[in-house]
């Protein structure tokens, strides 16, 4: 069979890519849960986070780092990415969405504003940062760390995977246990009732955007480590992540994670079984099939009612 040969290898690399999708998908799902808005500009938050991490690493200019320096650089890059992502998301919310909310604009206006912001940021980045792929200066020597069932797990896979896992667990706890998380869930369930209960809607929305931005920013940096940072990297990764969010159930945090991982693995297996050219076709076909059988996505429930 086509994938029995390298099944584990494909799964491992699929999970690594899938966890990047998951981080981005969380931003889409959180904002949708709270605002019923698909934040199309989220892909540019991801891209700018990647550039943030790249600039920090380039600025530090440490060549051939190893051991402790490598760990410090990775964490530093993640923080820089998170900051850039968070700031971009905050600015987006203030500039592109809040004025519309204040005027009670129809949903279509939000959508158009999102797409417009996305195009603007993408082309601004292309103009300012150049249009080439910018490879990340090497942060550690990548190689096989250990192997699982014959598949090699590389340093890249481990860094991306473990960073993603940590952030996802952190987010899950925030949503489930903290006051902010409760605020987000209540606004997602019923915004009017939440405000009557004393929840500051605007603050919750702003913080939701920022959280999504932090995650996407980190994802941008992690993505950049392996694939380089480029002005248009947000477009296809964002589309896949949005697909993943819908696949898992839009508005559902755990669904976004599951969707991302499933999509990443399915894409890889699809490439192996059919052909590289069919990669996107297979990814979207899976989405269509899942939605046909289960229209609310794999995990279905909305943010307000999930954990």
């Amino acid at each position: 069979m086509c994938f029995t040969q390298s099944f584990w290898q494909l799964t491992i690399s699929g999970l690594a890519l899938g966890s990047v999708y998951a981080l981005i998908a969380l931003g889409y799902t959180l904002v949708y849960g709270v605002l019923q808005l698909i934040n199309f500009a989220h892909s540019e938050v991801f891209m700018l986070g990647g550039f943030g991490g790249l600039f920090l690493i380039r600025g530090l200019g440490i060549s051939n780092p190893s051991g402790f320096t490598s760990v410090a650089l990775v964490i530093g890059g993640m923080l820089a990415g998170a900051v850039f992502g968070g700031v971009t998301a905050f600015v987006l919310e203030r500039v592109a969405y809040r004025p519309l909310r204040r005027r009670g604009a129809p949903k279509l206006a939000f959508l158009i504003s999102a797409i417009g912001a996305s195009y603007f940021l993408l082309n601004l980045a292309g103009k300012e940062f150049g249009r080439f792929n910018n490879p990340m200066p090497s942060l550690y020597t990548s190689g096989e760390v250990f192997s699982v069932f014959g598949a090699q797990v590389t340093t890249n896979n481990l860094v991306i995977g473990s960073a993603a896992v940590v952030m996802l667990i952190a987010l899950d706890r925030i949503i489930a246990k903290t006051r902010l998380g409760m605020g987000i869930r209540s606004v997602a369930q019923d915004a009017e009732a939440a405000s009557l209960m004393g929840v500051d809607i605007n603050k919750v929305i702003t913080r939701t955007f920022i959280i999504g931005g932090l995650l996407a920013g980190v994802a941008g940096f992690l993505f950049g480590i392996q694939f380089g940072v480029q002005y248009n990297m947000g477009f296809s990764a964002g589309t896949k992540a949005f697909t993943a969010a819908v696949l898992g159930g839009i508005g559902n945090v755990r669904g976004a994670v599951l969707g991302g991982l499933v999509l990443g693995v399915a894409e890889n297996l699809g490439v192996a079984c059919v052909s590289s050219a069919w990669r996107d076709v297979i990814a979207f076909m899976i989405l269509v099939l899942v939605l046909m059988v289960r229209p609310t996505g794999l995990l279905g429930e909305r943010l307000g009612r999930s954990a």
Partner: protein, 389 residues
Amino acid sequence: MLDRRILRLAAPLALGALALTACGGSSGGGGSSSSKKTYTIAYQGPLSGDSAQLGINMDNGVKLAIDAANSKGDLPFTLKFVDSDDVGDPAQAPAAARKLIDNTNVVAVVGPAFSGATAASEPLFSQANLVSVSPSATRADLTGLGFTSFVRVVTGDTIQGAKLADYVAKALKSKSAYVVDDKSAYGAGLTKYVKEQLTKDGVTFKSEGLAPTKDYSALATKVVGSKADTLVYGGYFPEMALLAKALKAAGYKGSIVSDDGAKDDQLIKQAGATADGIYLTCACGGPPAAGGVGADQFNADYKSKFKSDPGTYSAEAFDSANLIIAAMKAGATDRAAITEAVKKTSDFPGVTHKITFDSRGEGGTGEIFMHQVKGGKITLLGLIDDLIK
């Protein structure tokens, strides 16, 4: 109330109209004040987007030619330059071509640079009788589709593909290969001929097309699993760089051979150390002695004007512009006359080779060179015919 509203609108409109007339006036005045006529030679190619560097290299070559011709002072007219960005995309190429066709000052075009964009633009150029001399569009069938406006100074891919395959079979002595292309007009076109020749040379291979993306780990796993000893990639450098990195990460130990679309310093910048050892074919880049005249002067002038070495096809673009200028010097000054004169070009002494166009518009030498990335630089290995003896 209505009157006030009309007034409020009228004032800015009037100001705007005044400003526009001011703009129009100044440019018109400038043109008519000089005594020589001005003609514009244009360039069409990717100036933005992933593969922009390839387009910029040629854009510079044309600029250099026009500046040199103007400053030499022996032209009965002044030449201007305009470029049009088609992003290397066949979907955007017609609009880019239109921009040049609608500019009545443009009398000839160098380009389009990419094969897909060329196929999309030529019907428009042929209709407008505007000649396009391409320095780099190598897809084989471009000269067989009946475009009356298309000539190229570079050898087509029937030859590049066959020579690439011969090198893989005879110099690299490959037993099993994996041929990948990016499904573009250029990449797919080239690998078609590579595969044909590989079959003739007795090399078994698997092949597939890819959709340009960032993550090639699954493809790399497939290639490693197929135990191929050579990977041939038909396409441009952004994807080649990412594919090379993915192959290295997957533990691929064989050779990588690619084409002129991947032959750029950006490949090394983007792939880093994994670019070392990649073989690159090109109809370009041969030693200056191969029939070219003034190559050293060209290299020096390019370097001093653009502060970097000439890129892939910069010299061919330079030659394309110069042969247009030569046709214009001989008396042709409108589109139809220039088209005819250019197509009849014979033994034009370019810096790359003596250029003569045959009845189909082919002007290349038929020689393909092999280059290799060594120590972070693209170095010439030699003429493939010599290397496979």
